[in-house]
Amino acid sequence: MSAVTAEHDHDDHHHDDHAHGPEKGWLRWVVTTNHKDIGTLYLVFALAMFFVGGTMAMIIRAELFEPGMQFVDPQFFNSMTTMHALVMVFGAVMPAFVGLANWMVPMMIGAPDMALPRMNNMSFWLLVAGILLLASTLFMEGGAPAGGWTLYPPLVLQTGKALPFAIFSVHLLGISSIMGAINIVATILNMRAPAMSLMKMPMFVWTWLITGFLLIAIMPVFAGAVTMLLTDKFFHTSFFDAAGGGDPVLYQHIFWFFGHPEVYVMILPTFGVASTIIPVFARKPLFGYSSMVYATAAIAFLAFIVWAHHMFTVGMPISGELYFMYATMLIAIPTGVKVFNWTATMWKGAMTFETPMLFSISFVVLFTLGGFTGLMMSIAPADFQYHDSYFIVAHFHYTLVPASIFMLMAGGYYWLPKWTGHMYNEKIGQLHFWLSAISVNILFFPQHFLGLAGMPRRIPDYAIQFSDWNMISSIGGFIFGASQLLFLYIVVDTIKGGTGEKVTDEVWEDAHKHGLEWTLPSPVPYHTFSTPPTVIPCDHD
C-alpha cells in the first residue's frame, strides 16, 4: 500500500520550493519545518541535556566518593538521582534518537522530508517546553521530585510544590514523543521511494518503525498513570491509596507496563545504528537481515508482557512470579540472535577500526554484558537478592551508556561528515573512544560487586565496606564525564571545518552500497530526494 501512495506524493509539489534555502537568521531554527534542521535541533538539545544530566551524575558520584555526607543534603541527593534519570531518558537519549530519525529516515528511504513537517516542529518545541518545566522544579519550594524517576506513590505525593509541574512536564514530553513517533511511522509507511519495499529498508528504519509503534502505545499509559497521581494528590481520588480502596502497587503495574517498553524505545534504535555501522566497516552485508527484523519485532512484542519483572519483590502471587520469570527469560533468545548476527557480520569481513566502528564493537561487547546481568535478574528467586541493589544500577547503565550513548556517539561520528561535509579529527575521536570505553567500565563494573555485597541503590551514604569500590567507581565516573567534553569539542570542530579534508559523497569506503544517504552530496543539500531515487542499494538480496 505504501509504495503506491509514495509515488504520488513526491513528484509534483516539491519541485517549486526546491531552490528555497533556509529562512535567514535565528528565526530559521524556530519556524523550520525542514527535517534536517529539526534533526539538528533535536541532536543539539539532546547533547546539551546529556551534559546537564551528566553534571547531576557527577554530583551523585562526588557524594558517593567517600562514606559520610560531604556535599549535599540527602533530599537533594534524591532529587539528583530522580532528575538525572528523567533528564537522561526524556531529555538526552530519546530526543537524540528522534534527532537521528529526523535526519536519517527520509534520507535512508528516499523521501524529501518527514510526512508531517509542521507537527515535527511542534514536537521539538514541546520537548523543550517540557524539559524546561521539569528543570524549573529544581528551584521550587520543597525541591525537585525526589521519589525516583519511577515516581512511585505514596512517596512521590510527598513532593513539595514541584509535583503538578513535574506531572505536567511529563504530559508535555509524552505529547512530544507521541507526535514524533506518529511522524516517523507515517513517514516510513507512506514516503518510501517506490522501489523500497519494507524488507529492503535499512535496519535503522526498521528499528524506528517498531519503536514508533511502541511509543504510540506506551506514552498514553504513562500520561494516564501520572494523571492518576495528580488526582490522588489534588482531587481526593484514591487510585493508589489503600485507605480509599486503592493500591499503591497498581501504580507500579501501570508504570512498568509503560516503563519496560520504554527502555526498549531507547535500545531498539541503538540496535538499528549498530546494524547500520558494523557492515560498512566490516565491508560485508549485515548477517541475517530478516532475522534481525523478526528479532526486533519479537523483542518489541515481549516488551509488553514482562513488566512485572521489575516488581518481583513487591508481593505477587507465585503464579505471577513464575509467569513473569519465564516470559522475561524469553527475551534472551531474540536478543541473543541480534548479538550473534553482529558477530557473524564481523566474521570474515575486512574490518577497519575508525571511531564509529570502535564504538560499535564495544557496544556489542558491553551491551552483551548488560544483557547477561539482565538474564541473571530474570531468575526471580535470584532477583530477591539483586533487586534494588547496585547490581541493577550496573545492569541498566551497561545497557544505556556503553549501549545507547555509545551508539549515539558512533552515529554522530558516522554521519557528521555527511551532514557537515567535513571530516572529524580521527585521532581525537579515537582518544575519546578509548577514554570512554575504559572509564565506563571503571565506572560501572565495580557497581556489580557493590550490589552483590549488599549495597542498596539510591542511598546518599553507605557502610564502610562499600568504600573502596565506590571510590573506584567515582574516579571512573569523573574520567568518563570529562572525556565527553572531547566529543563536544569534536562536534564543534567538525562543524567549523574539521580536518579540512574534503569528504567524498560516500565518505566511507563503499558506503553507497549500504545506504541511500551516501549517494547524496556531502554536505547534504537543504532539500534532498525531491524526486525519489530509482535504484535502491540493498546488500542482503
Binding site: Q75, V249, R283, K284, P381, F384, I438, H448, Q465
Partner: protein, 376 residues
C-alpha cells in the same frame, strides 16, 4: 589495544566468579546462612557461569575476528549474509539453556514462597525512617532505629564514619530471633513503600502501606545479620538499617522474658536532674525528631519547620505537650512516647545548645501526666 581490553574484561570476569568473602573489595554475592539463601547463591553461580561461558565464546569470536579479519592484514571480505542452519542452532541452544535454568529457578521460587507451617510470626512495619517489629506470638513490640553514633556521624560531620563500628548498619534495638525455627514475617508500612532486605537471609520484601506481604526464614546458625531498606522511601532512606540477631532457643526465651518485663514496666516518673533530662532527651530526639528537624534544629527550608528560635518550642509548655501528643496533618503524633521520654525531649529542644534554644528550664515527667491521659 583491543587485547588489553579483552584481558581486562577476562580478568574482571574471572575474579567475579571467585568466592572471596573479605569485607573490602568484596566481589560476589554472599552465600548467606539459610537454605534458601544457599539455593539462591547456587542459582546465581550457575547462571553466572553460563554467562561467562557464553561470553567467552561470543567475545572470543569477536576478538578472533578483530585480530584476523582486518583489512590492514589484507583479509578479503567474504560475502555471505545468511545461514539458516546456523541461525536455527543459535536460536535453539539458548532456548534449551533457558529451560534448563527455569527448572531449578522454579524450585527455589516455590520454596521461597512457601510460608506454610511457620512456627512464629513477626509483623514488620516500615516507617519513615525506622522499622517497627511486633512479635505476634509473645507480644514483644519495639521500634528499631539507626544507632546514635551513626546518626550523629552522618548528620553532624564531626565524627569520622571510619571510626564508627558498623557505620549505618547498626540499630539501637535489633530484631532477635531463635535459630532453627520457621519464622513467618508479615510486612506492611505506615507511610510509603519500604523494602526489608537482609542479604544473609537471601531475600528482600516490600512493605506496602495498607497491604500485607509475607516471607519466611529459618536461620540455622546464631549470629548477627545486617541489612538495609531497599526501596527509596524519602530523605532518610539510606539511614534505616536492619539488624537481626539469631540466638539459641534458650537465650531467645530469656530475651523475650526480660524484654517483656521492661516493656510492661511502668516508666519511672520521678524527677530527674537537668543533665539527665538533657541526655535522655538527646537520645529521644535522635530517634524521633532529627530526621525532619535536623541535628541543629534548623529544619529543612520549605519542608520541615525549624525548632531553633521557634516560639512554639520556647513558649508555653502545656500547649507544646498537647501539640506533640496530638500531632498535625504534617507532623505525626508522638503520643507513643512515655511521659519521661516526652519530658526529656521537651527539655532538650528548649535548652540544647545544639538546637540553639536556651529557655533555662527543665520539664519533669510529672508535668506531662495531667495533660497526657495514658490509659495503659
Amino acid at each position: 589495544m583491543k587485547k588489553i581490553k579483552q584481558l581486562f574484561a577476562g580478568a574482571m570476569l574471572t575474579t567475579f566468579g571467585l568466592p572471596i568473602a573479605q569485607a573490602d573489595y568484596a566481589l560476589n554475592l554472599m552465600e548467606g546462612v539459610t537454605k534458601v539463601s544457599n539455593d539462591i547463591y547456587d542459582l546465581h553461580m550457575l547462571i553466572l557461569w553460563i554467562c561467562v561461558f557464553i561470553g567467552i565464546a561470543v567475545f572470543g569470536t569477536i576478538f578472533y575476528s578483530i585480530y584476523h579479519h582486518r583489512k590492514s592484514k589484507g583479509h578479503e571480505a567474504a560475502h555471505f549474509h545468511e545461514h539458516t542452519t546456523v541461525e536455527i542452532i543459535w536460536t535453539i541452544i539458548p532456548t534449551i539453556i533457558l529451560v534448563a535454568m527455569a527448572i531449578p529457578a522454579t524450585k527455589t521460587m516455590l520454596e521461597l514462597d512457601d510460608v506454610q507451617e511457620s512456627e512464629m510470626s513477626i509483623k514488620v512495619t516500615g516507617k519513615q525512617w525506622y522499622w517497627d517489629y511486633q512479635y505476634l506470638d509473645s507480644g514483644v513490640h519495639f521500634e528499631s532505629h539507626l544507632d546514635e553514633i551513626s546518626e550523629k556521624s552522618h548528620r553532624g560531620h564531626t565524627i569520622d564514619p571510619h571510626t564508627v563500628p558498623n557505620y549505618l548498619l547498626s540499630v539501637d534495638r535489633p530484631l532477635v530471633i531463635p535459630i532453627n525455627k520457621k519464622i513467618r514475617f508479615v510486612f506492611t508500612s505506615a507511610d510509603v513503600i519500604h523494602s526489608w532486605w537482609v542479604p544473609d537471609l537471601g531475600w528482600k520484601k516490600d512493605a506496602n502501606p495498607g497491604f500485607i506481604n509475607e516471607a519466611w526464614t529459618s536461620v540455622p546458625t546464631p549470629g548477627v545479620y545486617r541489612g538495609q531498606c531497599t526501596e527509596l522511601c524519602g530523605r532518610d532512606h539510606g539511614f534505616m538499617p536492619i539488624v537481626v540477631i539469631a540466638m539459641n532457643q534458650g537465650d531467645y526465651d530469656n530475651w523475650v522474658k526480660t524484654t517483656l518485663e521492661k516493656q510492661n514496666a511502668k516508666p519511672d516518673l520521678s524527677d530527674q536532674s537537668h543533665e539527665q533530662l538533657m541526655a535522655n532527651g538527646s537520645s529521644v530526639y535522635l530517634k524521633n525528631c532529627v530526621a525532619c528537624h535536623q541535628i541543629d534544629g534548623k529544619g529543612v527550608v520549605g519542608n520541615y519547620p525549624a525548632l531553633r528560635g521557634s516560639a512554639k518550642v520556647t513558649g508555653g509548655v502545656d500547649p507544646l505537650i498537647g501539640f506533640l501528643q496530638a500531632g498535625t496533618s504534617k507532623m505525626p503524633s508522638f503520643a507513643k512516647l512515655k511521659d519521661n521520654e516526652l519530658a526529656a525531649v521537651i527539655t532538650y529542644i528548649r535548652n540544647s545548645p545544639d538546637i540553639g534554644n536556651k529557655v533555662g528550664d527543665e520539664i519533669q515527667p510529672k508535668a506531662i501526666t495531667p495533660v497526657y491521659d495514658d490509659d495503659e
